[in-house]
Amino acid sequence: MKKDLSIYIHIPFCLHKCVYCDFLSFAGRSISDQVRYVSAINNEIRLYKPFASRYLVKTIYFGGGTPSLIDESLIESMLETIRDTFEVDRFAEITIEANPGTLKYADLLQYREFGINRLSIGMQTADDELLKKLGRIHDFEGFEKCFQDARRAGFENISVDLMSGIPGQAIHSYVDTLTRVTELNPEHISSYSLQVEEGTPLANNAELLSEIPDESIDREMYAMTKRVLSASGYERYEFSNYAKPGYESRHNHVYWTGGEYIGLGTSAASLFKGERFTNIRDVEEYMQVLTEAGDEISNGTSPELLYEAAAKQLRTDITVMYVNNRMEEFMFLGLRLIKGVSRADFRSGVGNDLASVFGPVVNK
């Protein structure tokens, strides 16, 4: 019986850095960089050949950065490499994150042809003024057009990302955003309250910081989300994720239930063969290690050895998932889901009885 596996690919290229973003992403990289990077990703995929036969890929997710920025052919090549290396489920959920400012209808058609069946578009807000404040490269109109293009291109599973607690955002503006989104009727909506992360342009901008709505408004907005979205048929299935029945994000679900996933590319995280680890962040180094690995593959070096060697150079922050770690995570991740954590799942996922481990805390 093959085990389920999810694959995440990180594309760290953007046109412009949004002020709040703390993901690994760079603006102003050349096409040749992008090509080299994708080449490296493909090598990383091939490294997993020794284990691939034990798995069935159920979800694939292109994140970043702006995956939609790079040439579609590059996306195609990564999907091809995955298909060459792994068995991919016929009904696998394949998502690509997109920024409205970088998508054309033609690109969307291509994505459909490659088998991508889910689109996640970052909208953040319908308020153009706020979009500018955030450093976004599009306006609401641009977003709308992108959305309509996606529908025309045949995407039947679209997710929209929203943000509350934006500097200068008033409750009515947020509610307006929510309303407009429901009018467009995507299958899935995520809405997160803006978190100020260290090192981001926002964190160093005292003026913007001072405009962030205070906590009580933030909480109001959170409450509003549920109110408006459930009225339009969206069910809250995780703290900040809403979906029409049946359209929950299958890829993210894997994170919250301790399932296995491989993260490819710089800064990507994995939970694979009982270990959590994160790839290095340095793009040059990443590409170098994998270019060398690629040469070795051509030379016919043992794949197992190659995997070990590359793993040593690419991975940081390695945690072996012993039972107690797994149990803790099962709870703090699983409890994010509205459905919560069931004793049966806990037992089959971890092997111990939930009550005997966490009983006293639960009772409290």
Binding site: R219, Y222, R336
Partner: protein, 605 residues
């Protein structure tokens, strides 16, 4: 040594206001009399405890015997007795004074006569000591010896015309002081043939010798092998060793006799068997009467001391036991608190005493402790006619059983420069002080006398005094007695659970204000939880103040995708570490710092 020639003995002490140079002068005197060479001197040789050195104040009485070859060619024996300078230790000071015939009064040449200059001087005079003044710190640019001499004569009323003008720090004119000791301090006049009679003015516990008692012999003599008896406790023991004090060391000899200051060791195990102020006599040939002036050391301030980690209870117990060996004034008794578990109710002579003990527990014994709010002893008169002393607020009976309550009141004497008179009078009034008198010392210095409740003074009165007078005020107080007062017990509830360790007795009219401030302080100290935490102050179940620690939610709601999970793990690990420093009160985690913070309700306003 055959009986000493008493005419060549001088027993004296040095009294002064804090920082006027008492310890430095003592060092110089010791230096100049050749008992120790300059090289052998460490700074302030008489303070041989670390804490004392740091704070610069003497806590334990120490005595030293030095030899002086005077200008008249004769050899004199000086017994210098060092005394605590802090108002908390008045009784010990007075017993040390009782050993002396004279006192050197040091006055700072620029600061002049200050509150404790007066207090200590009167104390010395009351003990029939001959007091002669010495003007110190003449090296300072602001020194004004003539002005100060006049102040001494006018304010204190002792002649200061021939007062030696010295700089103890720089060793100037110390000879003059030594000569004055010879001429102005009377020799002792006891009877060497009468039954042995000596006054205990201090004691220490030594792990080899047992308890060592410091005595001033008035009549008779004592030698090794004799059997002595204590008047107060009735204890009888055989003398193992007698001797006198070199600087920082014990020097045994054959006998100590009338007029001398020395020590006796007698295999005593418990320092409580030897009370300061008690009379020692020969068990075979006792004297008829004890020396006058004995008083039981009575604690004025109490607090609860708990181990931060319940597992260290025994360590705390052992440490208190050890501390008490050398500190008969420290009292402690086991008690329990719902909030803090098992601990002790401890009694101290005053807030300084409490702080020193606290510091010693933390530093010398390496303990992590929580102290509850210090409080004074109240007298509770119940409706059934009985009366008891209340040392722990948790023991206050139901209001229906209380007829009335009394609180201790002190006579406070505050010296301040006149520009701050108004501010200080306002402060005293705020602290329920009753105005008694105001006297001008010179045009710009005032002595204010107020009767004040002790519980208004023990927290931060002194700090408030200093800050409102820009440091120029000084103050001294003495217990006057107990007065009837409207008092209530203020309870603090965290998440609707009463925390007994935070309860305290407060004057009814101050309750609201105090309760409000405590809630505000606690709000800042208690971390945010996943739920709202109400903090309330209540009197007998009625809430009089409230603050709320808001729930935190944002962190919980943040995205948690693949890359976020290890970050979240690390956060959890950190929180686990942080939890170890918390006390759990119901479902609320309260850090140790919260208990401490509410004790220091400064007058920031």
């Amino acid at each position: 040594m055959s009986h000493l020639d008493q005419s060549k003995i001088r027993n004296f002490c040095i009294v002064a206001h804090i920082d006027h140079g008492k310890s430095t002068l003592a060092d110089r005197i010791i230096e100049k009399t050749g008992t120790l060479t300059e090289r052998e001197m460490k700074a302030q040789v008489l303070d041989n405890m670390d804490i004392e050195r740091e704070r610069g104040i003497t806590i334990k009485s120490q005595a030293v015997r030095i030899i002086y070859n005077a200008k008249d060619g004769e050899e004199y024996i000086f017994n210098l007795i060092d005394t605590p300078g802090h108002v908390d230790f008045n009784y010990e000071v007075s017993r040390s004074l009782a050993c002396c015939e004279g006192a050197i009064l040091i006055v700072d040449a620029s600061q002049g006569v200050e509150a404790q200059t007066l207090a200590n001087c009167y104390l010395a005079i009351d003990h029939n000591l001959e007091v002669f003044p010495v003007i110190n710190k003449i090296d300072l640019p602001s020194a004004d010896p003539d002005r100060v001499k006049k102040e001494v004569e006018d304010v204190i009323g002792i002649p200061a015309e021939d007062a030696p003008l010295i700089s103890a720090k720089n060793g100037i004119n110390i000879e003059d002081v030594l000569e004055k000791i010879v001429t102005d301090v009377p020799a002792p006049t006891g009877d060497p043939e009468a039954p042995f009679k000596a006054l205990i003015f201090d004691s220490i516990y030594d792990s080899y010798k047992g308890v060592i008692i410091f005595v001033r012999v008035f009549d008779g003599n004592i030698r090794k092998g004799s059997r002595i008896k204590m008047f107060q406790t009735g204890t009888e023991v055989d003398v193992v060793e007698v001797g006198f004090f070199g600087a920082g060391q014990f020097i045994p000899c054959d006998e100590i006799s009338a007029g001398m200051v020395g020590y006796i060791t007698a295999s005593l195990k418990d320092v409580r068997e030897t009370k300061v102020g008690d009379t020692v006599t020969d068990a075979e040939n006792p004297c008829s009467e004890a020396l006058p002036g004995y008083k039981e050391a009575k604690p004025m301030v109490y607090c609860g001391i708990y181990p931060a980690d319940g597992a260290h209870y025994q360590n705390l117990k052992d440490s208190l036991e050890k501390l008490q060996l050398n500190d008969a004034a420290l009292s402690y008794e086991p008690e329990t608190s719902q909030a803090l578990g098992f601990g002790f109710r401890c009694g101290f002579l005053g807030l300084l005493h409490l702080e020193v003990i606290e510091e010693r527990l933390e530093r010398e014994f390496g303990l992590d402790i929580i102290t509850t709010a210090p409080g004074v002893v109240y007298k509770v008169h119940k409706t059934d006619g009985t009366c008891f002393d209340l040392t722990n607020p948790s023991n206050l009976p139901d209001p229906s059983e209380i007829e009335y309550m009394e609180e201790p009141v002190v006579e406070a004497e505050i010296m301040v420069t006149s520009e701050f008179t108004g501010a200080i009078m306002k402060l005293c009034q705020e602290r329920r002080g009753v105005y008694k008198s105001m006297e001008y010392m010179e045009e710009n210095r005032v002595i204010l006398k107020y009767d004040m409740p002790l519980n208004e003074i023990i927290y931060d009165f002194f700090d408030a005094l200093k800050s409102r007078s820009r440091g120029y005020a000084s103050f001294d107080y003495e217990l006057k007695g107990y007065e009837r007062s409207k008092l209530v017990k203020l309870d603090i509830l965290i998440n609707r659970e009463s925390v007994d360790a935070l309860s305290f007795i407060v004057f009814a009219d101050s309750a609201y204000d105090r309760g409000r401030r405590m809630c505000e302080k606690l709000k800042k100290e208690i971390p945010r939880h996943l739920f709202e935490v109400p903090i309330q102050a209540a009197i007998g179940g009625k809430v009089i103040a409230r603050e709320t620690v808001k729930a935190l939610r944002k962190d919980v709601l943040a995205k948690c995708y693949g890359g976020d999970i290890s970050r979240k793990r690390k956060l959890l690990e950190k929180q686990k570490e942080g939890k170890k420093k918390m006390r759990e009160i119901g479902s609320v985690e309260v850090p140790q710092s919260a208990f401490l913070a509410v004790l220091k309700l400064d007058d920031e306003d």
